[in-house]
């Protein structure tokens, strides 16, 4: 790692900033939930999004709702816009697979191909809907990379193993999607790079002035 890449002072979030991110995530999630409800004909429960700054090496700790040891699968999709870059992750435990498949109206044989298909579909919808809401509030338009399967049927610890990083911290927004009458537990995790945090702090400063 290059020494100059290491920040002397770690970034800290003030309570006001944290509240503001939480509120932004709330609104974005509300819009996403509304879209989902229309698509899937289910009521989406809205828990409070968790906003935290993490050391990148502690990333797996960001996923509080999921069983760390149990096998899970994940898809990630990068996004960038206006100096803000990050990745969105969709993660669910493999034991939830059947419920999610039923929810998405999947029929037919279970297979690896179907598993990938389902991961992609859920990622498209949850990440797409959330990013749209987030972009509208921050008044920008994100470019989105292609989603990629991060791993399948592995413990979360192995799925989220950040390799060489030139930055230390990440702003993580964790959203646990729960659906009424469906025992589905699916995590949407948004991770922003260290340099994006400054840009976003400036953007929300403008929101906080109002």
């Amino acid at each position: 790692m290059k020494p100059e890449a290491i920040r002397a002072e770690p970034i800290v979030l003030s309570d006001i900033q944290r509240d503001c991110y939480q509120e932004i995530a709330n609104v974005a999630m509300g819009q996403a939930a509304d879209l989902l409800a229309r698509l899937l004909n289910v009521f989406v429960e809205l828990p409070i999004p968790q906003v935290n700054l993490f050391e990148i090496t502690d990333l797996h700790m960001a996923l509080q709702s999921l069983d760390q040891e149990e096998a899970a699968s994940a898809v990630c999709q990068g996004f960038a816009g206006d100096g803000i870059t990050g990745e969105a992750l969709i993660i669910f435990n493999d034991s939830n697979f059947d419920d999610i498949a039923r929810l998405m109206n999947y029929t037919g044989e279970h297979s690896e191909a179907m598993h990938v298909e389902l991961l992609m579909d859920v990622a498209n919808i949850l990440i797409g809907a959330f990013l749209k809401g987030l972009a509208e509030q921050l008044d920008l338009a994100f470019s989105q990379g292609h989603p990629a399967v991060l791993g399948q049927h592995k413990p979360i610890r192995d799925l989220l193993r950040p390799t060489h990083q030139s930055w230390h911290q990440t702003l993580a927004i964790e959203i646990i999607y729960a659906l009424e009458n469906h025992p589905v537990n699916c995590d949407l995790l948004l991770l922003f790079t260290e340099d994006s945090i400054e840009v976003m702090n400036k953007k929300i400063a403008y929101l906080l002035e109002d």
Binding site: Q77, M120, I125, Q144, H146
Partner: protein, 320 residues
């Protein structure tokens, strides 16, 4: 008046969209093709005016209707982008690769992005389909996966006999013990050894010795059931794990195999020879705590076979 520079930029943009090496298709709410760039023309061999207003699924019968429509409807309803990758489906529409002669791929691998196009009333009736050629990435990833699985196969195979090597076979034995404990199934282990193998090497040389082992490997693979796990345990010692098999059932197989090998003639380097086997059988029992105890029981039975004159099968005293 339109600023001439803006007009020029606009023409440039159109020119770029037309020639960019990415497929662009716009469809309306009835899946009729509205727009089609040069990439689509060149790879499909159909000019834009010949497909204009034609149904997408008529133009590309290989595109699965239900699957693709579901993606398009999501884009329309949620007003969001959606993506498909070659890992889900190698391609949306079947095109040849850019290297039809030198590429190993038979078709172009494609990723695609679908995005909503708003009309003037603010509703989404048109959807843009962007097709990316990812043949190079896909073929190298597939080649890598293939190389990895070949490496994995090699790392657990004994080169001479093509049976599992000791390390992997022992891992299987450990797993079988766990499984048997968890589900209450029984399992048996056969260990066998070539009688008087050292004189074969000493008299005829190692090439003949190797051929004997190769022959045994072949015959073992041919005769075990699909669920049995055969490995080369040591020099001329072999092991077969028989899941859900009692000692009595294992004995039937072992006797048949012993007689078969004894009846065969092996030819190597102009030499003809016959070999016999000594075998030991141990069925798993609940007192065994470690795989080593299971192996020891089968080994002890094998040594009884040796002591009693070779070319015979013995069931472990623990199973009697």
């Amino acid at each position: 008046m339109t600023d001439p520079q803006t007009l020029r930029d606009f023409h440039w943009m159109l020119e770029i969209l037309q020639t960019i090496d990415v497929g662009l298709v716009v469809i309306d709410d009835e899946y009729r093709i509205q727009s089609w760039n040069a990439f689509m023309e060149n790879h499909s061999g159909r000019r834009a005016h010949t497909v204009k207003a034609k149904n997408l699924y008529d133009v590309f019968p290989e595109l699965p209707k239900e699957w693709f429509s579901q993606k398009v409807e999501t884009v329309r309803q949620l007003n969001i982008r959606a993506f498909t990758t070659w890992e889900q489906r190698p391609y949306l529409v079947r095109f040849r690769t850019y290297h039809p002669i030198t590429s190993t791929a038979e078709h172009m691998y494609q990723n695609s992005m679908l995005y909503p196009l708003m009309d003037t009333k603010g509703s989404v009736s048109f959807v843009a389909i962007v097709i990316f050629d990812v043949t190079d990435i896909a073929t190298s990833k597939l080649a890598l996966q293939q190389a990895n699985s070949e490496l994995a196969r090699l790392s657990r195979t004994d080169a001479l006999t093509q049976l599992f090597n000791r390390g992997f076979w022992q891992e299987c034995l450990y797993r079988e013990m766990q499984r048997s404990r968890r589900h209450g199934h029984t399992a048996s282990l056969i260990i066998f050894d070539v009688d008087h193998f050292k004189p074969v090497n000493d008299t005829h040389g190692h090439t003949v010795g190797d051929e004997v082992l190769r022959h045994l490997g072949r015959e073992t693979r041919k005769n075990v059931r699909e669920t049995d796990i055969a490995g080369r345990y040591g020099g001329e010692e072999f092991g077969v794990i028989l899941p859900e098999t009692s000692a009595a059932e294992a004995l039937v197989f072992a006797e048949r195999f012993r007689k078969l090998i004894a009846s065969q003639t092996i030819q190597a380097e102009g030499v003809e020879l016959s070999i016999t086997l000594s075998l030991g059988i141990a069925e798993i029992d609940e007192n065994m705590k470690q795989v080593e105890e299971w192996i020891s029981a089968a080994d002890a039975a094998l040594y009884v076979s040796k002591d009693e004159g070779r070319n015979r099968v013995t069931v472990s005293s623990q199973n009697r």
